[in-house]
C-alpha cells in the first residue's frame, strides 16, 4: 500500500517533465533493447546450431583418404584412394567405441523422372548403416534398402524430400522408377525432411543408394577394377567383395597370406570416398579416433614414422567451435549492451542528482511535515526505479520488435526468451537502485531548515 502510494507519487513526478524523463531513460531503453535483441537472436542462433548438430548426426566422425601429392603439388584432401569398404568392416569389427559405420561413395549427376530432371546436391552410395549413423532411420515413406541390396548391387534408392518435390511434384515416389545416368533405379523409400544445415546446404536434396550400385554402375568403374578389388580382399572376412560375379572367377591365382604381407597392393580399386561413422557417445569420440587410427594404420601398413594416409574429421569439434563462436559473439554483444546499460545508469544518476537539487525545497517541506530520511530515500529510489523500469519496458518492446524485424527481414532464427525479459526487468530495476541510490541518499541527508531556505 505504502509502496504503491510512493510509486504513484513517483509516476506523477515523472509525468511533470515527460520530455526529460524520456531522454533520461533513453540509455536504459537502448541498453535493455540491445540486451533483449541480443539474447533473442543469440538464443535463436544457438537453437539453430543445436538443430543443425542434431541433423548432422550426433557423435559423427568422417574418415577421408589423405592428400595425394606429386612433385610438390598437393591435390587436396581425399585425393588418394586408400579407403576401402573392408576398412569400414574392420573398423566396425575392431573398434568398440564405434557404434556404426557406413562406407560412402559420392556422385553428382542428372536424375530423370518422366519429363522432369534435376541434379541433386549429392548422390550417396552407402549402406543402410548410413541412416543409423545420421540418426535418420525413420523414413517419411517406404522402406530403406537392405544389406542384400548392397551385396547384389541392386538398383534401388531412397529419395530426399527436395527430390520428391522437384521430380514428383509432391506425389508419392515409392515404387516409381527414376533414371540416374540412364540407369533405372526403383525408389523404395523417401527420407524424412531434415532442412538446410547451418551452411545452407539442403540436406533433403540427396539420393541414397547401395554404394555398390553407385560405384560400379553410375560412376562407371569397370568390371576389371571390381575384379581386382575382389581378389585383393578375397581372404578377408568381408562378404561384400565375394558377391560380385567376377569374384568367383578370379583371373589371378589366389595369393597366400605371406604373399599379401610381402607385397601389398599399392592401390585398392574398390576404394570409397569416405567412411562416416558414429561413436557410442560424444565422450567416446577421442577413444574412437584412437582406435580407428590404430586399425587403419595397421591395415594400410603405415610405419611408425610415416604420417597417416587418411584423416579423421570430428564433427563434434566443428560444432563445438561453431557453438563457442556463436556464444562468444553473443557474449561480446551482451557486453556492449551492458556498457550501454551502465551509461544509461550514469544518465539516470545525473538527472536524479539534478532533480534532488531542484527539489531541495520540496524535500525540506516534506521533512518539515514529518518525512524521515528513509522516506525521502525511498521516494527518490522508487522514482529512479520507476524511471528505469519504464525505460526497461520500452526497451523490451524495442528489443523484441527489433528481433522480430530481424527475423522478418533477414530470416534469422530468433527465439523469444522469457528469461531474457525477466533478466531485463531485473537488470533495469537493479540499474535504478544502484545508480539512484547515491542521489536518493544525498536527498535523505538534507537538513530540513537548510533545504527549506534553499533558493
Amino acid at each position: 500500500m505504502m509502496m504503491y502510494t510512493t510509486a504513484r507519487t513517483a509516476f506523477r513526478t515523472l509525468r511533470r517533465n515527460p520530455m526529460r524523463a524520456m531522454l533520461t531513460t533513453l540509455g536504459i531503453v537502448i541498453g535493455v533493447g540491445a540486451v533483449i535483441a541480443m539474447m533473442e537472436i543469440g538464443a535463436g542462433a544457438s537453437g539453430a546450431l543445436k538443430k543443425t548438430i542434431a541433423s548432422m548426426g550426433a557423435n559423427v566422425l568422417v574418415i577421408r583418404p589423405g592428400t595425394a601429392s606429386s612433385g610438390g603439388v598437393s591435390f587436396g584432401a581425399g585425393t588418394t584412394t586408400t579407403l576401402t569398404p573392408e576398412d569400414c568392416q574392420a573398423i566396425l569389427r575392431e573398434c568398440p567405441a564405434v557404434r556404426n559405420a557406413a562406407p560412402m561413395v559420392r556422385a553428382r549427376t542428372q536424375v530423370v523422372y518422366g519429363n522432369r530432371n534435376w541434379v541433386p546436391n549429392a548422390i550417396y552410395g552407402t549402406t543402410p548403416a548410413y541412416l543409423d549413423v545420421q540418426d535418420w532411420s525413420i523414413l517419411a515413406e517406404g522402406e530403406p534398402f537392405n544389406d542384400r541390396d548392397v551385396l547384389n548391387g541392386n538398383r534401388v534408392c531412397i529419395l530426399g524430400q527436395s527430390l520428391v518435390r522437384e521430380l514428383f511434384d509432391g506425389e508419392s515416389a515409392v515404387g516409381k522408377e527414376i533414371r540416374i545416368k540412364n540407369i533405372a533405379f526403383r525408389v523404395v523409400g523417401v527420407l524424412s525432411p531434415k532442412g538446410a544445415n547451418m551452411m545452407g546446404f539442403d540436406q533433403d536434396d540427396v539420393i541414397l543408394a547401395p554404394w555398390t550400385t553407385i560405384k560400379y554402375r553410375v560412376t562407371g568403374a569397370s568390371a576389371s577394377t571390381a575384379n581386382q578389388s575382389a581378389s585383393v580382399a578375397s581372404d578377408s572376412v568381408n562378404t561384400l567383395s565375394n558377391l560380385y560375379p567376377t569374384a568367383q572367377r578370379s583371373l589371378y591365382p589366389e595369393r597366400s597370406a605371406v604373399q599379401l604381407a610381402n607385397n601389398p597392393m599399392p592401390v585398392r580399386f574398390a576404394n570409397i570416398d569416405q567412411i562416416m561413422l558414429a561413436a557410442n557417445s560424444s565422450a567416446e569420440i577421442p577413444l574412437a579416433i584412437e582406435q580407428i587410427s590404430e586399425v587403419l594404420r595397421e591395415r594400410h601398413r603405415i610405419r611408425a614414422d610415416e604420417p597417416d594416409d587418411f584423416n579423421i574429421r570430428d564433427m563434434a569439434e566443428l560444432t563445438r567451435t561453431l557453438s563457442t563462436t556463436t556464444k562468444l559473439m553473443t557474449n561480446l554483444l551482451l557486453a556492449v549492451a551492458m556498457i550501454s546499460l551502465v551509461v544509461g545508469g550514469v544518465g539516470i544518476m545525473n538527472i536524479m542528482l539534478v532533480s534532488v537539487t531542484e527539489r531541495t525545497r520540496e524535500i525540506g517541506l516534506r521533512m518539515a511535515v514529518g518525512a524521515r530520511g528513509r522516506d525521502i530515500l525511498r521516494q527518490f529510489l522508487v522514482e529512479a526505479v520507476v524511471l528505469c523500469l519504464t525505460g526497461g519496458a520500452m526497451g523490451i518492446v524495442l528489443g523484441h520488435g527489433g528481433s522480430l524485424l530481424v527475423r522478418f527481414l533477414f530470416k534469422w532464427p530468433v527465439e523469444t526468451s522469457p528469461a531474457a525479459i525477466a533478466t531485463a526487468v531485473l537488470v533495469s530495476a537493479g540499474v535504478g537502485i544502484i545508480f539512484g541510490f547515491y542521489p536518493a541518499w544525498k536527498a535523505s541527508r538534507l537538513d530540513p531548515i537548510e533545504a527549506l531556505r534553499y533558493e
Binding site: M1, M2, T5, T6, T9, R12, R16, R361, E362, G364, L365, R366, M367, A368, V369, G370, A371, R372, G373, R374, D375, P448, I449, L452
Partner: protein, 242 residues
C-alpha cells in the same frame, strides 16, 4: 496545563572559529489555546526560536517540554514523527508543491503518518480541511491557479491535516497584501477560538499582532517583553482556556 515549556534555551551557530550566539537563554511557557504573536526586529532570532519550537532544529542547550515530553534530545526520526503528529507549520513562502492539486498538497503529510489511511480516506480528510479554510471549490486547482491568500490557506489546511494541537507560523502574512493578510489572520483567530488550536506566529506588523492575545517581543536573542497586546484589551485571556 502548559502545552509548551522552554527552559534556558540557547542556540549558538559555529561560523568557522567564531561562535555566534543567536538565542541567549529563552524561558517561556505557553498554554493550551493561546494565540501568541512573536515580534522583534530582524535578526533577533525569531525564526531560530520557531525552528526549535517546531522541532525542525535542536537547541544548543536547555530544555524543551512539549505536552509533558522532553523533546530537545530526540533523534531526527523521532522529531520527524513528532512534527507529523503534533505540530503544524505555516511558512512565509507557502511552500506548496508546484503542478500538484490543492487536495494532493493538503493530503501529502498523511503519507508520512503512522496511521495509514486509504487513498480515499486521505482525499476525504484533505477535502474536509480545505472546506474548513473556505476552499471547497478549489480542490483540484494547482498553486499557480490560486491567489496568494488562497495558497496560504491551502498551506494552513496542510498544516492542520493531522489535527495537531499547535500551529507555528513564521511570518505567514509576509508575502500577502493587507487584505488577504486580514483573511488569513481571521482564519487563525477562528481556528484558535473554535477549534482550540494553539497558535504561535511571528510577525513584524503591529496590526497583525493585534489579533493575538499574547505578545512576545524578542531582541537580540532574549525575550524583552511578554504581555497581552496593549492596543486593545483582550477578552480571551490565557486563563479562559481549558
Amino acid at each position: 496545563m502548559e502545552l509548551i515549556t522552554l527552559r534556558s534555551i540557547t542556540k549558538t551557530y559555529q561560523m568557522g572559529d567564531i561562535a555566534v550566539p543567536v538565542l541567549k537563554g529563552i524561558s517561556l511557557a505557553i498554554r493550551q489555546g493561546e494565540l501568541v504573536a512573536l515580534t522583534g526586529s530582524s535578526g533577533s532570532g525569531k525564526s531560530t526560536l520557531m525552528n526549535i519550537l517546531g522541532c525542525l532544529d535542536r537547541p544548543s542547550a536547555g530544555e524543551y517540554w512539549l505536552e509533558g515530553q522532553e523533546v530537545s534530545q530526540l533523534s531526527a526520526d523521532e522529531r520527524a514523527l513528532l512534527r507529523n503528529r503534533k505540530l503544524g507549520f505555516v511558512f512565509q513562502s507557502f511552500n506548496l508543491l508546484a503542478r500538484t492539486s490543492a487536495l494532493e498538497n493538503v493530503a501529502m503529510p498523511l503519507s508520512y503518518g503512522a496511521e495509514h489511511l486509504s487513498e480515499r480516506e486521505a482525499r476525504e480528510r484533505a477535502a474536509e480541511m480545505l472546506t474548513r479554510v473556505g476552499l471547497a471549490d478549489r480542490l483540484d486547482h494547482h498553486p499557480s491557479q490560486l491567489s496568494g491568500g488562497q495558497q496560504q490557506r491551502v498551506a494552513i489546511a496542510r498544516a492542520l491535516i493531522n489535527r495537531p494541537p499547535v500551529l507555528f507560523a513564521d511570518e505567514p502574512t509576509g508575502n500577502l497584501d493587507s487584505k488577504t493578510s486580514e483573511e488569513v489572520l481571521q482564519m487563525f483567530e477562528r481556528l484558535n477560538t473554535e477549534d482550540r488550536i494553539t497558535i504561535i506566529m511571528v510577525t513584524h506588523d503591529p496590526k497583525v499582532a493585534g489579533h493575538a492575545n499574547r505578545l512576545i517581543r524578542m531582541e537580540d536573542g532574549v525575550i524583552q517583553g511578554d504581555a497581552p497586546p496593549a492596543a486593545e484589551p483582550n477578552q480571551k485571556t490565557p486563563e479562559s482556556a481549558p
